[in-house]
């Protein structure tokens, strides 16, 4: 563990939005990135309303302090955004918010990948549903 700044420490100690959402809900998308062998696995759940606005978001993370803090910050940032807006979140925003040390940049990258993966999951789910409905 590195000597972290107060922001990272605070977010690690009291992370917001830890938990999970019902993966079977068609309005829930799940992002799942990383691997145990690499030392971090991030799972993010987003729930959207009819306007594709994110109305609920949860995460579970296996990883170091920065990974957990980055996950939590990600959930704070995407809450209330539309999917299109959420897509535009960059790892830099997360890293800047936490003032991540350079060696921990990959944690913010993983967070960015997680939200994209969640959005992708949601869209995939819908397509399957649409196909089902129209088929």
């Amino acid at each position: 563990m590195h000597k972290y700044n107060d922001k990272i420490n605070a977010m690690f100690e009291n992370p917001v939005n830890v938990g999970s959402l019902d993966e079977n809900d068609p309005n829930v998308g799940v992002g799942f990135v990383g691997s145990p062998a690499c030392g971090d696995v991030l799972k993010i759940f987003i729930k959207v309303d009819d306007e594709d606005r994110i109305v609920d978001v949860k995460f579970k993370t296996f990883g170091c302090g920065s990974a957990i803090a980055s996950s939590a910050v990600l959930t704070q940032k995407v809450m209330g955004l539309t999917l299109d807006e959420a897509k535009k979140i960059t790892n830099k925003e997360i890293a800047d918010e936490l003032a991540l040390p350079p060696i921990k940049t990959h944690c913010s990258v993983l967070a960015e990948e997680a939200i994209l993966d969640a959005i992708y999951d949601l869209l995939k789910k819908r397509k399957v549903c649409k196909v089902d409905q129209t088929g």
Binding site: Y4, F12, P36, G39, K60, T61
Partner: protein, 424 residues
């Protein structure tokens, strides 16, 4: 031996001498606080300030006397002749002198690099491994014999590794990450039978296990004072008499020409005093640590599923526990354990982002490498520290598992080995 929380109120008589303002220190293999009695003795010795190399006046003679007194004290602790002890700046330098020095003496004699073969293991300290790597780049042949999954050198594999060009075997006695104790006596006998030199890195051994150089066949042995409650910046190298070895640093030919540079006499005083103290306290400490270790292992394994102790549980020093906590990343666990100073084999806690090569070498599952914590008890650890620590670990692991997606998967029966991971 059946320690129960609360019924071991005896604290070592050295408690309270060192202040631990930054939390309970459980990283005694990284370094140790310099014992206040050692600090005091060094402090007092600053009035002897001469250069031991000055032979023209009493300031120099007094300095020499103090250095030689320290040398004798230290030699007595490890049971060798004072003439076989040279002072260095630490175990890193000792290892380098031992390995490079023995090789250089052969090169100086015209032996070709490719005709020099040395043997070590993959779990040595960097001071050994990086030196071997540098020797390899010079054309020396280096063979890394495998260790078993419990971290102990495979004697059969070692025996097979010898060639007729083998010059030196270099093995650490107590591994700094795992705490396992290598069978140095047996290895010494093997080396003697083969006519091969044996260098032992004993940086983590002194004060923890008995070191009796008259009882084992070792040619070179490295020590570092700051690992046994002595000062930083000094170590020693035992060089058995008649060992052929050349210096790697050149100058005023101090220390029989093997280690040039003004002898730091205050540090010699500190090293000797610390070694004596460590040896005097050794067996009591061993007993105390054994009880503490048992308490930690018993209680953690009772309360927590999926934890694994790395390194043999029997052939280890009781001071060290290296534990993998499945589904919990090591650095995050350390952050939860804010009141303790620990180290982890996690990549996240290193400056290089490379996870522990030692755990890798003993075949720890790659999923578990990042979940490991090294807990090292020492002279100032109290039973109370240990009781609290165990409670806090259990709580921290449970909390982190609550937020671990892997723990969810494991509970719902997913085999993590079968999962296709999205890695970048």
């Amino acid at each position: 031996m059946n320690l129960k929380k609360g019924n071991n109120t005896d604290t070592p008589d050295r408690n309270g001498r060192v202040e631990f303002e930054q939390g309970i220190y459980l990283d005694y293999s990284a370094t140790t606080p310099c014992d206040p009695d050692v600090v005091k003795e060094m402090f007092d010795s600053y009035k002897v300030f001469g250069n031991p190399h000055s032979i023209t006046h009493a300031y120099g003679w007094d300095a020499t006397a103090l250095v030689e007194e320290s040398r004798t004290k230290f030699a007595n602790v490890i049971n060798c002749s004072p003439r076989e002890v040279i002072f260095t700046s630490g175990a890193t330098e000792s290892n380098n002198i031992a390995i490079q020095g023995v090789i250089r003496s052969r090169l100086d004699n015209g032996v070709a690099p490719k005709d020099i073969h040395i043997i070590t293991t993959k779990i040595e300290h960097k001071a050994t491994l990086e030196t071997c790597l540098a020797m390899e780049s010079m054309g020396i042949r280096v063979q890394y014999v495998p260790v078993q999954n419990n971290g102990i050198v495979d004697l059969k594999a070692l025996e097979k590794a010898f060639t007729d060009k083998t010059l030196l075997v270099s093995i650490g006695w107590v591994n700094s990450e795992l705490g396992v104790v290598q069978p140095i006596k047996a290895i010494g006998e093997m080396c003697e039978a083969k006519g091969v030199l044996l260098h032992v890195d004993a940086a983590q051994a002194l004060g923890r296990i008995k070191i009796d150089l008259s009882d084992i066949n070792v040619d070179l042995m490295s020590f570092s004072a700051h690992k046994f409650y002595g000062p930083k910046g000094i170590g020693a190298l035992y060089v058995k008499k008649r060992t052929k070895i050349s210096p790697i640093v050149f100058g005023g030919k101090q220390e029989k020409g093997l280690r040039s540079g003004t002898i730091p006499l205050q540090l010699c005083v500190g090293l000797a005093k610390a070694a004596e103290l460590a040896e005097n306290l050794r067996s009591d400490e061993y007993e105390r640590m054994t009880k503490m270790q048992k308490y930690i292992v018993d209680n953690l394994t009772k309360e927590l599923a999926d934890i694994y102790i790395n390194g043999d549980l029997k052939d280890r020093i009781p001071h060290n526990l290296n534990i993998s906590f499945g589904y919990v990343e090591g650095e995050a666990l350390m952050m939860k354990l804010k009141g303790y100073a620990l180290s982890s084999a996690s990549a996240c806690s290193s400056t290089t982002l490379q996870p522990s090569y030692v755990l890798e070498a003993i075949g720890v599952d790659e999923d578990l490498i990042h979940t490991s914590l090294r807990i090292v008890l020492g002279r100032y650890t109290t039973y109370e520290n240990v009781y609290n620590f165990v409670d806090d670990v259990i709580k921290a692991v449970n909390e982190l598992r609550e937020m671990s997606p892997l723990w969810d998967m494991k509970k719902s029966g997913v085999d993590l080995k079968q999962v296709k991971w999205h890695t970048h």
